[in-house]
């Protein structure tokens, strides 16, 4: 047990974060969303509500800003020289980006949010004390706080909606922060089943609720480590790398032809969600 050995092991232990030198080993869950395919139908948002027991906060609370949608469809109006703004509507589904270098994780005082081995940003509800620092630090503002005790509030799951609540997911009380988990309850079951069979999860075997429901197939979700996974192939075609804050392709001439990008990449959050830019008529 030499000193060099000790120092190397210690350095190794300190730098456990997956990077180019030490990539993720079995799973790294990532997503890609095609904004050209997205019609803004909100099916993904509704499916997320159904799958994760999200409370319906109601019109009044929503207008106060107490929205509780883990995946939200943002609407951007781009005239692009057209007569009516609606003709240039663009929709962007925004959900937790599961950043590799998540700014929310460092600032939680009690350590309620951490990074799992398979690349997810986890939220531990019973540890959360509700300081809301994670939301303050999230550049995308995709974290949602339980401003009231929704499970005991009326009309949150009006009859018969309470019959469709998912038993695999907890119900959160007041004062707790929550966000998209990439349907971790489905991932856990899929991984467990695969392990029983002595293999890894195959591409397409597990789907997030939003992916499952999207009518145009705009959302692709899978394991970046798996060479056969569709999402990995998309990332590679678009030349977007997980561990870079500035993609090399942006310097090149044909940058305009590759639609893939990540939002607010320059903040060095290394998000796991890649967006494929909508094709604009003016660009063609």
């Amino acid at each position: 047990m030499s000193i060099t050995n000790l120092l190397e092991n210690w350095s190794d232990f300190r730098q456990q974060h997956p990077s180019d030198d030490r990539p993720h080993r079995e799973y790294k869950w990532a997503m890609s969303i095609d904004l050209d395919s997205c019609t803004g139908c909100n099916a993904c948002s509704v499916a997320c509500y159904a799958e994760n027991n999200l409370p319906v906060v109601g019109k009044v609370k929503f207008s106060h800003g107490h929205s509780h949608h883990w995946i939200r469809i943002e609407r951007y109006w781009d005239n692009d020289g057209r007569e009516f703004a609606d003709q240039g509507a663009q929709f962007l589904p925004m959900l937790c980006q599961h950043c590799e270098s998540a700014p929310c994780e460092t600032v939680c005082p009690v350590g309620a949010t951490n990074h799992t081995a398979d690349g997810l940003n986890s939220q531990v509800y019973n540890r959360c004390v509700g300081s809301r620092y994670c939301n303050a630090n999230c550049p995308y503002k995709v974290r949602y706080f339980n401003w009231y005790d929704y499970p005991t509030t009326d009309n949150v799951w009006p009859e018969p909606m309470n019959q469709q609540l998912n038993p695999d997911v907890t119900v959160r009380g007041k004062g707790v922060m929550e966000k998209c988990t990439f349907c971790v309850q489905r991932l856990t079951v899929a991984k467990s089943n695969a392990r029983t069979e002595g293999r890894l999860v195959l591409d397409g075997e597990v789907q997030t609720a939003c992916q499952q429901v999207c009518p145009t197939g705009a959302i692709t979700f899978g394991n970046l480590v798996d060479p056969l996974a569709k999402v990995g192939k998309q990332w590679m075609t678009q030349q977007v790398e997980l561990n870079k804050d500035k993609q090399a392709k942006n310097e090149a001439e044909e940058a305009a032809k590759l639609r893939g990008y990540r939002i607010l990449e320059e903040l060095r959050t290394y998000p796991s969600v890649m967006y494929l830019e909508q094709l604009r008529e003016s660009a063609i």
């Binding site: 106060h64 929205s67 005082p109 350590g111 509700g130």
Partner: protein, 454 residues
């Protein structure tokens, strides 16, 4: 020029004057105490409502998650720097004009910190689990996240509060001995007897006392600077535009000293009037205090302007937009009020006419603190209303009455604590005033032709 204190004050007179302030209070005291209790009950009522219903009643929402609680928390921590400034920094600089006024300033430090601690708990969504933030061994091997500036806050404030209380207490021991010796029998005499630890002013006790006081003063200065720098790190360590500014730690420390000095002026005027301490809290001392406040106000103004200048120099468009939003958006009136109260109003303190005019100083010092409170709020809310992400823009949010009620009540809590302190413990340090008189009379004896301000 007038002297800071008369050199011929009899020491027995000093004892008598200060001990007189500990007598049974007059009716006005009870009236104000009742008002303070009323304010506290407003806050408690609001907090109970918030606790049972949920944080949503405070009107915070999902992009705008922090508001007045954090602003007021930082305001109270800032105000607590007064005591350290006076007792520790001025002590090391041998500025003995601090001697009649540092006792109540230190008390102010302690009570400000206690008030600030309450706001931490009020701010949490699940305050019954606030102990999760503390590092205690448990069977789940779960520890707080030491990377978080909020955990640093907890360590820093716990250190600062306990050190301030101990410093206040140790510095009070000789005074408590005086109280013990001169008070009639009763609960007070028992209290002072126990708390003065049998102090008799022996040379051994004084010798060690002197070294201890100096050592703790040397520790308190870096502590005060680090505490408010850590509080500033709550913002500086995040990536929000308008927060991720390297000059925040010194900016906050300057703001804290500013706040503290203004509060000292306010309390100075009140105590001087109520307890008739005109011989001790003299106008020349007030003049020095006012000049110190003016100097710190200018430092704060400079750091404020530097922050704006660095945004102007940088290429960060979001930060530029954020600053313009602060100055021209829905929060603009408060922003400009902060600039006026914080930078323009103190300019009048440069004029000799106002430096000893107590009624004006009283009003001005309160307005300066209003400006400092607005500063904290203007750091928090505009950044949430115009962050990196377009979805957050135009998310301006105004605090509900629940928030205002709790902020309002905190002043009642502070007043209650301070008033109880003033009637149980001497708010002017008797032995230090004696030292001041002694050294000045010695100086007078050896240098008969001393002219000009001391």
């Amino acid at each position: 020029m007038e002297k800071d204190i008369r050199e011929d004050i009899a020491w027995a007179q000093i004892n008598k004057d200060v001990l007189k302030s500990l007598e049974s209070p007059r009716r006005l005291y009870w009236v104000i105490l009742l008002i303070a209790l009323a304010m506290i009950s407003v806050a408690v009522g609001c907090e109970i409502y918030q606790y049972t219903t949920g944080m949503g009643v405070s009107n915070k929402n999902n992009s705008h998650v922090w508001s007045l609680y954090i602003a007021t928390f930082i305001f109270w921590i800032g105000m607590s720097h007064s005591g350290t400034l006076l007792s520790a920094i001025l002590h090391l600089m041998h500025a003995d004009w601090r001697k009649p006024i540092y006792r109540f300033a230190e008390a102010m430090t302690t009570f400000s910190l206690m008030t600030a601690g309450l706001f931490v708990m009020v701010h949490l969504g699940r305050l019954w689990q606030v102990y999760y933030v503390m590092p205690y061994p448990n069977e789940r091997w779960v520890w707080p996240n030491f990377q978080s500036p909020l955990v640093w806050d907890m360590f820093a404030i716990a250190t600062y509060l306990s050190s301030s209380v101990l410093f206040l207490y140790v510095g009070m021991i000789p005074d408590l001995a005086i109280c013990r010796d001169n008070i009639h029998a009763g609960w007070r005499k028992k209290l002072y007897t126990v708390m003065s630890l049998g102090w008799e002013g022996t040379d051994r006790q004084w010798r060690n006392f002197r070294v201890t006081y100096l050592t703790i003063a040397c520790f308190l200065i870096p502590l005060a600077v680090s505490v408010h720098s850590i509080v500033a790190s709550d913002f500086a360590m995040s990536n929000m535009p308008g927060w991720h500014v390297t000059s925040f730690p010194p900016y906050f420390v300057a703001g804290a000293l500013y706040s503290g000095c203004a509060a000292i002026i306010t309390l100075f005027i009140i105590l001087r009037y109520v307890f008739r301490f005109e011989e001790y809290m003299t106008l020349p001392i007030m003049k020095k205090l006012v000049r110190l406040t003016f100097a710190i106000a200018m430092v704060w103004t400079y750091l404020n302007l530097i922050e704006f200048a660095s945004v102007w120099y940088g290429h960060d468009q979001t930060a530029k937009d954020q600053l313009i939003f602060k100055a021209t958006g829905p929060y603009a009136p408060f922003f400009w009020a902060m600039i006026f109260f914080g930078s323009i109003l103190p300019l009048m303190l440069a004029f000799k006419r106002f430096q000893t005019h107590l009624p004006i100083l009283f009003v001005v010092s309160i307005l300066l603190n209003v400006g400092m409170w607005l500063e904290r709020w203007m750091i928090i809310s505009p950044s949430f209303a115009h962050g990196h992400y377009p979805w957050t823009w135009d998310h301006d949010q105004w605090p509900s009455l629940v928030q205002w009620g709790i902020v309002f009540g905190s002043f009642g809590w502070f007043t209650l604590l301070f008033m109880v302190f003033c009637k149980v413990f001497p708010s002017v340090s008797m032995y230090e005033v004696k030292e001041m008189v002694y050294h000045r009379s010695l100086a007078l004896k050896h240098k008969p032709a001393v002219k000009g301000d001391y």
